[in-house]
Symmetry: C2
Subunit: 457 residues, 2 copies
């Protein structure tokens, strides 16, 4: 029954763990447009100091330095759960009867159940190193909040998490696991901040959004001595830290004598896709692999790339952040309450936005019932219960493999399996019993949410 | 900060995966006492055929064959999630300030979140190979049921699971994940069997026990054409399959030039401890390592080894099975409803019972708040949220490491981290908010539950 010529899972040796993060911006032909202050002038590094740690502000603004050393304290934790395995989905290939080879990089082997820990550890370390007392953040489905709780506890930092209310209610155990790492967790919008109170005043039943939770977390960070704010996606610094995914994958594929024809990642704010695809986007940009395809997969209910506008926008609903040039649905956008997984941010990484705009990437969107269909098939064949986020990439990888079945092409497909779905059983239950529904925003919905875009840039 | 001289995690290469299971009985000086029929005569292999697949019945009864080949189809699935890592708990060591070296074998990297998949895959394969239509089983905390759901679905078998009612209600998502693998799950005692109805007639509010769920699952297996019953612990065949844990651990430690001074495993029915310790128990029996200590850790609320009786007893509450000689609390024993994790079986593996009785093993018990204290510390330092079951072993490993701190001995401690606690957040929540309680049965409780022991053997 076994047709193995490559191992089913490849674990690099600990000594092969990357010791530097890779900064894709250093190889981009054109830099992403700069962050702007509300008055339309470009933000400088020091403008970020009230919100971010200095080292992180520096990483955020540095488009030139190709490699950043990973601090030893960060490597110590990386070694507890990394290198992460590159897996060959032999059984899924057999089930699909495809000539394609399907590989996935699995990032779920830690308590956060996702790749989010890669950046959480880095950001918590720099906060500790700067002598801070605590950090604040938002979380949607809860992977980022859990990862940061792990990292903050490890370094002895206080952590305050604002969790999107609809997810807080759908996933009660996320709070419990964050509390196991001593984090304080509030459902957002909350009555603990001006931003939250303003949103609740407008609609006491507001179910929350990442943009709103960000406003609350930033407000707490800037009004409390010794606190800074950290974010799990979208930012340049996060893509930098997540490059560890791509670097490991590149090395593991080299060892197999493989190179992907297509790289697929789910995309909410872009942290996973940007990390996984970084070396491959470099190869495409530099012409080393000009035919490689990089595909972002997003939910049809939150279609930033496929239906958003490439424009300057606020990163939060309260409009307190600098402006970023990105694909956006408008900072007030919220996916409908029936949306089960993460990938619920209104915007998208400025780096990936620029590359998508310049034609280096593709994007597709799927409705969630199609996504869970793929999730269930994958779980049944590969013994990993995927996170709904990750299952977007699985859906696309399966469809690419089925295209190969039609054409007879033996393509090499690589996708990012960002995490596990142990906290998403309410959604799985809905899918299993047939009560899961889909939702696609209408053109009118999107036009309305884009109305308030700032008039700059 | 890093003091590493061994890697933090060691993954054997796929080519180093054991291709045979090891049968500890072949090296025991005295065999475990034989299974008896209700009339007191020894059971023969063919007596087991109505309940077990023939190949599994053969493995159950064979005390002579030292190694059994692992079928290729089983190895194909093992390769998806094995070899499992052997980890050095550097940060826990630093936190405890102990001279001891702490290693753990981590078995949680699959959807069942535990080592249970090792035997589930084997048992489902033999059932498929024998041409069966389906299998039935019981599950307590749900790890075994989930593992078997994965395995059954993989081989295209129907699966019916009876889940101990108190766990079914404490862990609603276990049902959802088993259903994702198309299993049918009933809370036990149920009204679907004579055994369940009899128990409900005696007490409509009966919260269930493994012994009761076993009675229900066996009844369904023997009364439905093409079905057999499978069990996740206690049996000799299960310890055989689980030896893959110990064999991998032995090889990984050899590569490090290490050998444990003490091997620690949680013990409910003995599947994990029996598997992990198999090569080390062999070394103790044969005199190759006569000073090695093997420690079983059990809940104070279900203390089979530490307070049970070594006697013949039924394996189920309905008294439908042959009799096994084992440490038992009586087949009607139930841990109190506040008991959070698994490890709730009234008996214990006959192999381990014999070895414990003959002085090759030690046993300790802990109350659950002490166990969760260790679980939380471990999660915070090692980024893995342990299952409550596994945390019993962690508690004991920490206490052994603290003894080393007192004595200054740099012992090598090895324990089994059997799985993850993603489905145990209700219990973690209780621990975090201070509402978790302990329970130790009184001597009178135990005397009463032991009253009904069969008068044979």
């Amino acid at each position: 029954m076994s047709t193995n010529n490559a191992p089913t899972r490849i674990y690099l040796h600990e000594s092969e763990l990357p010791t530097q993060w890779y900064n894709l911006r250093a190889d981009m032909k054109e830099q992403p447009d700069p962050m702007l202050l509300p008055d339309g002038t470009p933000a400088q590094e020091e403008h970020l100091y009230p919100v971010f740690c200095k080292k992180l502000a520096q990483q955020e603004m540095d488009g030139q330095t190709r490699f950043f050393d990973i601090p030893g304290e960060v490597l110590d934790i990386y070694k507890v759960y990394r290198p992460a395995p590159l897996c060959r989905a032999y059984d899924l290939e057999r089930t699909l009867d495809t000539p394609a080879k399907i590989y996935y990089k699995f990032e779920g082997n830690n308590t956060s159940g996702s790749h989010k820990l890669n950046s959480a550890v880095a950001q918590a370390f720099y906060a500790k190193d700067e002598g801070l007392k605590g950090i604040t953040t938002e979380t949607g489905a809860g992977q980022w909040g859990t990862a940061l709780a792990e990292a903050a506890r490890y370094f002895g930092l206080d952590l305050i998490v604002y969790m999107v209310k609809v997810s807080y209610e759908q996933k009660p155990f996320r709070r419990a696991v964050m509390e196991t790492f001593d984090a304080k967790v509030f459902a957002s919008p909350s009555d603990t901040t001006n931003a939250g109170r303003a949103i609740l005043a407008a609609d006491p039943k507001d179910s929350g959004s990442l943009g709103c939770a960000i406003s609350e977390a930033i407000e707490v960070a800037v009004t409390n001595e010794g606190y800074r704010y950290v974010l799990g996606s979208v930012l340049n610094q996060v893509l930098l830290h997540q490059s560890v995914i791509g670097l490991e994958t590149e090395l593991a594929m080299q060892k197999l004598g493989e190179y992907p024809d297509v790289v697929i990642g789910c995309a909410g704010g872009g942290s996973n896709l940007g990390g996984l695809a970084a070396p491959f986007l470099r190869d495409k940009i530099t012409g080393k692999a000009k035919d490689i395809r990089i595909v972002a997969v997003e939910p049809a209910s939150c279609p930033s790339f496929t239906r958003g506008k490439y424009a300057y926008d606020f990163c939060d609903t309260g409009k307190t952040t600098p402006l970023a040039k990105m694909y956006t649905l408008g900072s007030g956008f919220k996916p409908s309450a029936n949306h089960a997984g993460g990938l619920r941010y209104h915007g998208m990484s400025p780096i990936l936005s620029k590359l998508y705009h310049d034609g280096y990437m593709e994007a597709v969107s799927y409705e969630q019932t199609k996504v869970f269909e793929a999730a269930k098939l994958f779980a049944q064949r590969e013994t990993i219960l995927p996170a709904p986020e990750s299952a977007h990439a699985i859906r696309c990888a399966i469809d690419e493999a089925l295209k190969c079945k039609e054409t007879g092409e033996a393509k090499t497909i690589l996708f990012g399996l960002t995490g596990t779905g142990y906290f998403d059983l309410v959604a799985y239950d809905q899918f299993n019993n047939g009560t899961m529904t889909d939702y696609i925003p209408t053109d009118e919905d999107l036009e309305k949410s884009l109305e308030g875009l700032p008039q700059v840039g």
